[in-house]
């Protein structure tokens, strides 16, 4: 009998009951017998050399097991530098500190309160050095964050940088299409603007946490990580061990958003556990997360040529990414987002320079969008300004210029399964764009704005999955995708169940454990539904084929209606045996040419997201009230429509925080002034727009599992520029720097009236 369709069902999350009862497993909860807590001593300065570390008082405190510095770490890991793109980040600072909050020493104690108190007793003397904090200045500054570049060797486009000295530039991505200079010279009109994005933090509510336990022969790391396979490879490299002696497992994550990617606390807890010969847990506080990873601050200079018909003929984008003191995945953000820096427009002549820079700020990495929200902020604010200058309707101006199916994008890759036009039209329809818009009365003005963004998936990346059938016919999926709230467990169960004709609720998802679950590149960049979804689908098909082969071996005619448990009984004479289906998925990819950035195969799929906003601005206070926030996206065919909708609105709300509320504020010395929820405000229910609507357009990703593709980031793309465009529409002022605070808006209103307020 055929079960009802499993994909396309709005099935509640498999773990829903565990989550509402507080019983879901998080690494946050984990405690092991004999465990020590590690508390970190962090740098109070942004840049300096370490003259002396005095840990005597801390070591003498009752209950302290050990105080560890880089000297001890190097006894077991001679070259303790890690990172996905560059091996530049020391487990604990060596000779030098490069950002506020950098870990310098770790105190171990069985009682966390003792470890914390003892950490206060460690004194470190520094010789302070001048710091470099601005990404544009870093490109030419004599202040150097690193003496020499140390690429990891895993990325071909970074290899040539090995040993390069005298620079803060960690990667320069260059794209050249057509001849922008000639097009600018010939253009009817040229527009140029600059935009800035501020540094922000993911603030997952489960703060980063890792726990390691070691034996002579192996190490087990329990970690709230989005990338268990990467952690295993990196720890094995650091220790000089084979991968099979390193076990990395995760549980549910209390949020990730890119903060828990690649390697964060895992090398530290491994070193501490090996040195202490006891299990060691390091749990960060909310404050410490701000020193660990952030989203890139970014400056974009963008220039466009437009012809008489309102067609964009050329665009140049210069992008400076503030990578902080350690590269993390910044160089990949720089390159991958560089592919689409010119926006979802059909432009004949494009020049893009996207540059990753080291500075003395806390490291920056991936955060929900991999750089795309910062770029869309720039190109969609710019697009709106051009439309205004040309007195063209913003929807109409986009309509004339958008990339359509079958047309080559800036890299030369032809657009396939990217419903850009459909998304734009649906958004305009939902906003009733053609109708007159109520403008408000008195000091409260109303405005509306739209913005449209797109993203290439990170490539090439691999996923491997196992689908096992037990002798009673029950099914388990073993895969390395980490469920951090996006609902991947449920989606993978739906895919396997669809293939195997089972109810999705009956499928068990085995959580990532590198002893058990095969390789997966990572849970990032909205890649899992497509990549792991395809791997799980194929593994389930493999299991189904093996079941059919077993039936044939037992002499059953094709299509015989015999229960799976009965097949096993006939084959093994009792309830015994296992069928293991397996598959891997690696989409094709052509790396961009180093000189031109061009490639005919930049990505296995495109994500498209657009935002429409209606708002009020109080012109006497600068206060913004969002009336309506509409998200429209192309996610292919949703596997679970309810979860997809929550993903879209959740992403939009997060980006709303990055647009209106959130900003990591540094003083001139690189000191972070607001690393806590008291001073760094994330959106709460009171910050929500009066109406939030999210919708997907009818679409299919033909290479995706059952037509699906990624969804986690698409809701972020258009939020910031849509709000700035709506503010402009309401009160006639343009903000070019995030966040859009009431103060910034009020200052702009006063400046526009020729009555500027004094700077602070």
């Amino acid at each position: 009998m055929r079960a009802a369709r499993q994909v396309g069902r709005s099935l509640p999350r498999l773990e829903a009951r565990a989550k509402v009862t507080g019983r879901a497993e998080y690494i946050h909860n984990l405690q092991l017998p004999g465990m020590l807590y590690g508390k970190l001593v962090r740098s109070p300065i942004a840049h300096g050399t370490i003259r002396r570390i005095d840990a005597e008082a801390a070591r003498a405190m009752a209950g302290v097991h050990a105080v560890i510095t880089s000297a001890e770490v190097r006894q077991i890991i001679p070259s303790p530098y890690y990172g996905p793109a560059f091996h530049d980040q020391p487990i604990l600072a060596i000779d030098k500190v490069r950002h506020i909050g950098e870990p310098v020493a770790a105190v171990l104690a069985a009682d966390a309160a003792i470890a914390e108190a003892a950490a206060q007793l460690v004194t470190v003397e520094y010789d302070e050095l001048p710091g470099i904090f601005d990404e544009v200045e870093a490109a030419t500054s004599p202040v150097l964050v690193h003496e020499a570049l140390k690429p990891a060797g895993t990325f071909a486009d970074l290899k040539h940088l090995g040993g390069k000295r005298g620079t803060n530039v960690a990667l320069e991505f260059r794209l050249r299409r057509g001849d922008v200079e000639r097009a600018f010279a010939a253009a009817g009109q040229v527009f140029e603007h600059s935009f800035r994005s501020q540094p922000v933090m993911h603030t997952p509510l489960e703060p980063m946490v890792a726990l390691a336990e070691a034996t002579e022969a192996s190490v087990t790391i329990h970690t709230a990580s989005q990338s268990p396979s990467f952690v295993r490879i990196e720890i094995a490299r650091l220790l000089g061990w084979p991968e099979n002696r390193v076990r990395v497992r995760t549980a549910y994550l209390g949020g990730g958003f890119g903060a828990k990617l690649y390697i964060k606390l895992e090398a530290l807890v491994t070193a501490l556990a090996l040195l202490a010969r006891r299990p060691v847990k390091v749990s960060l506080t909310m404050e410490e997360q701000f020193y660990t990873i952030t989203r890139h601050a970014c400056t974009v200079r963008i220039k466009s040529a437009v012809d008489r018909d309102g067609r964009i003929t050329a665009r140049r984008c210069e992008v400076w990414w503030n990578g902080g003191a350690y590269a993390d995945i910044g160089p990949r953000v720089t390159q991958k987002s560089g592919f689409t820096a010119a926006g979802p427009y059909d432009i004949e002549n494009v020049a893009i320079d996207s540059v990753a820079l080291y500075t003395n700020r806390p490291p920056a990495g991936a955060l929900r969008g991999f750089g795309i929200p910062q770029l869309v902020w720039a190109y969609e604010s710019h697009t709106d300004l051009i439309a205004r200058a040309l007195a063209l309707d913003p929807v109409e101006f986009r309509r004339r210029n958008i990339l359509r199916e079958g047309r080559p994008q800036a890299t030369g890759t032809v657009m396939r399964d990217a419903a850009i036009a459909a998304v734009l039209e649906r958004l305009a329809q939902k906003l009733e764009w053609g109708r007159p818009f109520e403008r408000g009365t008195g000091p409260v003005k109303r405005g509306r704005g739209i913005a449209l963004g797109f993203k290439a998936s990170i490539s090439p990346t691999a996923s491997v999955a196992l689908v096992t059938i037990a002798a009673d016919g029950s099914c388990a999926v073993q895969c390395g995708t980490v469920d951090m709230g996006q609902g991947s467990d449920t989606a993978m169960a739906q895919i396997a169940a669809e293939v195997l004709n089972l109810p999705a609720e009956s499928v068990r998802i085995v959580h990532p454990d590198t002893d058990v679950t095969p390789y997966d590149m990572a849970t990032l960049g909205s890649r899992s539904t497509f990549h792991m979804g395809n791997a799980v689908k194929r593994a389930a098909e493999d299991a189904r084929d093996k079941l059919a082969a077993l039936a044939a071996e037992l002499g059953l005619p094709p299509g015989a209606n015999v229960e799976i448990a009965e097949l096993f009984r006939r084959r093994y004479g009792m309830q015994a045996g296992t069928i293991i289906g397996t598959a891997s998925f690696l989409p094709s990819y052509a790396p961009p040419d180093l000189a031109t950035g061009l490639t005919d195969n930049a990505t296995p799929f495109w994500m498209v997201g657009a935002t429409g906003v209606e708002l009020e601005v109080d012109s006497e206070t600068g206060r913004v009230r969002l009336l309506r926030l509409v998200t429209v996206a192309d996610v292919g065919t949703p596997l679970n429509p309810r979860i997809v909708e929550t993903q879209l609105s959740g992403a939009a709300i997060m980006q709303l925080g990055f647009t209106l509320l959130e900003s990591m504020e540094f003083d001139r010395d690189g000191q972070l002034k607001n690393p806590s929820f008291a001073d760094y405000k994330i959106p709460g229910l009171g910050d929500l727009p009066a109406r939030i609507e999210s919708e997907t357009v009818a679409a299919s990703q033909h290479s995706g599992p059952f037509g699906a593709k990624g969804v986690g980031e698409s809701g972020t793309f258009g939020v910031s520029p849509a709000i700035a465009n709506a503010i402009h529409d309401a009160v006639g002022v343009r903000l070019t720097s995030l966040p859009l605070t009431p103060e910034a808006i009020y200052r702009a209103i006063r400046a526009a009236a020729g009555d500027s307020l004094a700077e602070e």
Binding site: G22, A24, L253, I643, I653, F677, G684
Partner: protein
């Protein structure tokens, strides 16, 4: 650390218990370390996110800021008690039906706060909900679904009462 621990007695999820607690020990730490209750979680550590919400004498409290010693003689209820009889509370059921969470880390706090909201406002409007739950944060941004869940739970409770 130096000050002496003291023994406290209190009611935890309906049972009388005793614990030896350090003077500076927070309620959330005691629940985790001494009673293996993990539903209340320390996140912001400043009483600003609601992840550590528990009930003390029936009132919602941020257990990261409450000292364990102060619950001596009082009644503490955690999220784990809501389905003690094997049945989900209507609020929990409503959160599942409305899909009102993603990662789930903040969910116990929202559920406990929603119960308190519904005791005071059996039929809350959008503004009541937004105001009452403003002290609970959800970084995944499942807020639209949370508002739906609260309304659904209110309807369930009214249905059960009627």
């Amino acid at each position: 650390m130096s000050a002496a621990p003291r023994t406290i007695r209190f009611t935890l999820n309906g049972r009388t218990v005793a614990a030896e607690v350090a003077p500076q020990e927070s309620l959330v730490t005691m629940l985790r370390d001494r009673f293996a209750l993990y539903g209340a979680r320390e996140s912001c550590g400043q009483g600003l996110c609601g992840c550590c919400t528990v009930l003390v004498d029936g009132r919602a409290v941020s257990s990261c800021l409450a000292l364990a010693a102060l619950v001596d003689g009082r009644a503490v209820t955690t999220i784990e008690h809501l389905d003690a009889d094997g049945t989900l509370d209507p609020v929990q059921q409503a959160f599942i039906e409305a899909g009102a969470f993603q990662c789930g880390f903040c969910t116990p706090g929202f559920v406990l706060m929603t119960r308190q909201l519904l005791e005071q406002h059996p039929d809350p409007g959008d503004d009541d909900i937004r105001h009452y739950l403003a002290g609970n944060l959800c970084r995944c941004g499942a807020y639209p679904e949370i508002v739906q869940a609260v309304k659904l739970a209110a309807a369930k409770r009214r249905g059960a009462a009627g």
